[in-house]
């Protein structure tokens, strides 16, 4: 009897443990499949150049093309920025001229400008304009219009 009882206990234990083990195994497999290993290095002090050789070795042709395209786009954007900065500088100069002529045309008592409690009005910060490339030359023309009635 004790032997029969012991066998029953073992079978019961096996029946209980097997599904649990199977579930644990399945969960482990699923976790392993879903988890992406973190390959980042723990040291941030290492200079990028140290890894460049191995990275360059793995660079594919497609990546090189992408990099070239990005470099081209960056160059285009920089050119646009220079052009816009040039236009901005000219517009600011024009605005200054218009403002100056408007001031000149208003002859009268000086205007007091104050804010709130009549404190000092801070002058706007000086605008620094980066030197820019000269504007593109005009395209060739077939003729000119102007000076109507020119002799």
């Amino acid at each position: 009897m004790p032997e029969q009882r012991g066998r029953a206990v073992r079978w019961n234990s096996a029946i209980v443990l097997f599904p649990g083990t199977a579930a644990l195994f399945g969960a482990t497999v699923a976790w392993a499949a879903a988890t992406v290993p973190d390959t980042s290095t723990s040291s941030t002090s290492q200079p990028p150049a140290a890894a460049s050789a191995s990275v360059a070795g793995r660079t594919t042709g497609a990546q090189a093309v992408t990099r070239k395209q990005l470099a081209h786009e960056v160059a285009t954007h920089r050119k646009n920025v220079r052009h816009l900065a040039h236009r901005l500088a000219k517009l600011r100069a024009q605005a200054a001229r218009v403002e100056a002529s408007a001031r000149g045309s208003v002859a009268g008592a000086p205007v007091n400008v104050s804010s709130g409690g009549g404190g000092q009005v801070a002058a706007p910060p000086p605008v620094q304009v980066q030197p820019v490339a000269p504007a593109p030359a005009p395209p060739p023309v077939n003729t000119n219009t102007g000076a109507s009635g020119a002799p």
């Binding site: 030359a137 005009p138 023309v141 077939n142 000076a147």
Partner: protein, 331 residues
């Protein structure tokens, strides 16, 4: 007119093919240099060039104010009496009267009296530099009420009225229009004719992308203020760059405001207008100029005109209708 550096040098030859494949011919008429450019597929370009030249010569002969024997000046002398004029002068006077009505009197050929009083009664050597006609009386008289000339189509006669008229600008525009009509009748599809800064054009130009027209800097710079790309229509500019002179202590110019009898266009140096016909573009460039810097944008927008203007301080303005033709500007 300054010569843009980028134009092929052959463009200024008397006649012949240039490096861009166009046939070029130049001559002088109506106190202006006239340049004809014809597409490479044009048959007998020399013949067409002679026709254009003859047409300009005939318009000049009938419509000039600098010859007392021209049809126009004889009609002016007849004043309120009927006078028979040539067909071109008759048509030009009719067109001038239409333009006067269409512009609500802003275009008025009767400003001739003011021009004469300011010393511009005969040709002046503007191209030689500064012109000084000496002191002139300050008698600025408005052109008056609406101009109502009378026309007798059957007899090709006109009654100009009590005040003499000038067909200078519109006459040149009409010469361009009639020359373009003649080229089209001869099945010439690609051409550009330029007369002293006003021009008419057709076709896609030498490169197939249209004609490129530089808008001169009225301050006299080498570079244009803008470059337009166009394919069909006309372009005219009213500017004070050349036709300005000293009259005693005053500096005056040829663009007279009929409402005041004085040189108009305060704050502006030039106005360029694109249009379907060169005479109308010429009229509107003048009218917009007379509106002055304060009103030009509003006036141009209300009329739906493609216009570009240069202020006396060098600033450039334009309507959205003009913006579509601008491929380069100096801003």
């Amino acid at each position: 007119m300054s010569s843009p550096a980028a134009v092929p040098s052959a463009a200024f030859a008397e006649t012949g093919l240039s490096v861009d494949g166009l046939w070029h011919g130049t001559f002088r008429s109506m106190a202006s240099p006239v340049r004809v450019q014809l597409g490479p597929d044009t048959d007998e370009p020399e013949v067409l060039h002679r026709q254009v030249r003859a047409l300009f010569g005939e318009v000049d002969r009938q419509c000039t104010r600098f010859d007392p024997d021209s049809d126009l000046m004889r009609a002016n002398a007849a004043a309120k009496d009927w006078y028979a004029v040539g067909e071109l002068c008759f048509t030009a006077l009719r067109e001038a009267e239409r333009a006067h009505r269409r512009t609500d009197g802003w275009f008025d050929p009767r400003v001739l009296r003011t021009l004469v009083e300011l010393g511009y009664g005969s040709t002046l050597p503007f191209a030689d530099g500064r012109v000084d006609v000496g002191p002139r009386p300050e008698r600025f008289r408005p052109a008056g009420k609406q101009w109502r000339p009378k026309f007798d189509g059957a007899g090709q006669r006109v009654r100009v009225g009590g005040k003499p008229v000038d067909l200078g600008g519109i006459g040149k525009g009409l010469a361009l229009r009639w020359a373009a009509d003649a080229l089209r009748r001869a099945r010439c599809a690609t051409f550009l004719i330029d007369a002293g800064g006003d021009c008419v054009f057709s076709g896609a130009g030498p490169g197939g992308e249209g004609w490129y027209i530089g808008v001169e800097d009225p301050a006299g710079g080498d570079d244009p203020v803008a470059v337009l790309r166009v394919d069909e229509g006309a372009c005219a500019t009213s500017s004070t760059r050349l036709l300005s002179w000293r009259a005693g202590e005053r500096t005056v110019h040829h663009l007279i405001d009929p409402h005041t009898g004085r040189p108009g266009g305060a704050g502006l140096r030039s106005v360029t207008v694109l249009g379907s016909k060169p005479d109308r573009a010429e009229v509107w460039s003048k009218v917009l100029f007379l509106h002055g810097a304060d009103q030009i944008a509003k006036a141009a927008r209300e009329r739906g005109l493609a216009a570009l203007w240069v202020h006396t301080d060098g600033r450039v303005g334009m309507t959205s209708a003009m913006r579509t033709s601008v491929i380069w500007d100096r801003l």
